[in-house]
Amino acid sequence: MRIGVVTFPDSNSDVDALNALAVAGVEPVSLWHESPDLQGVAGVILPGGFAYGDYLRAGVIARFSPVMRGVSDFAAKGGLVLGICNGFQVLAESRLVPGALLRNRSLRFASKIVAIKPQRLDSPFTHKATGAPLHIPIAHGEGCYYVDEATLDELERNGQILWRYVRPDGAPALDPDDPANPNGSLRGIAGVCNTAGNVAGLMPHPERMSESILGSDDGMQLISSFVESARTWEATR
């Protein structure tokens, strides 16, 4: 099975994502931003980085790139798309997942390992996770998740909040000022999915903790969930 990773100008985690997919036992395929052709992949990762220099707003220029036409069509057909960090920002700007990523409340670029917890274990992006907190790096300046209150309630009701930042005791860091909430995200949100559940974005980088040589393979719980779900989806095609 083949899974694609998009490279935009200034993507910098594309190679990490390709490697994580190889570790997960699938054939990684590099997809170039100038072509809408997804080469028949069974899933797509939009990786971290600073697509198009983050000019104007993080993710917005990437939204209008040819490859995103292919990604939107793929998502509309039910294909699985995972946006990591800058990839999450691209999905949010593309309105493929709800919300916006504002500048971190601290105004500082946040680069450290955080704890996140899957909020449900029956989604295509989490079903192989144990449910325990995952220790995964973040590296972003604009990761403060925002939507209006009414939409937040809707996301809770629909089960669209897939990951939250958690405290050392595992309790969600719901307060934007909680030290375990690294960027001031509303209700401690680290990642969400669309209503259909096949497009998800998260700020932390699971691909950077995808094998023990990197310090931990916590991230592989999410990568392998995604890979397995893509395999299932492809089998139904």
């Binding site: 104007l56 917005v60 919300g99 916006a100 504002l102 409340r105 601290s106 105004l107 925002y146 939507v147």
Partner: protein, 109 residues
């Protein structure tokens, strides 16, 4: 056709966290300024649209502002017409200069 020069001013919507504005505010005491408050930091984009008339040009700017220059979820924008330049050839009888076909500038009020 004419050319219309616009500025699109984009600001965080009221109530949306604006850490840049807050950082500016927090630095004001260092300048011994005590009379400034409610700082909001946004961005300004200037651009030129070629169109037959201003309303048509404004539709283009408005679409661009909504679609790309701002994120309607978190930002509000305002469009400002800076300059209109007529590039149509002047009607017969008006203007005898060799440069009659270029650029009468109108500055909006």
């Amino acid at each position: 056709m004419s050319e219309f020069r616009y500025a699109v001013n984009v600001l965080p919507k009221p109530g949306i966290l604006d850490p840049q504005g807050r950082a500016v505010e927090l630095s004001l005491p260092h300048l011994k300024i005590t009379t400034v408050s409610r700082v909001r930091v946004g961005r300004r984009v200037e651009l030129t649209v070629t169109a037959a008339a201003e309303p048509a040009a404004r539709v283009v700017v408005d679409g661009l502002a909504k679609e790309m220059l701002s994120n309607p979820l978190i930002e509000a924008y305002a469009i400002e017409l800076l300059e209109a330049t007529s590039s149509t050839v002047s009607a017969v009888g008006s203007g005898t200069d060799s440069g009659a076909s270029s650029g009468a500038k109108v500055t909006p009020s």
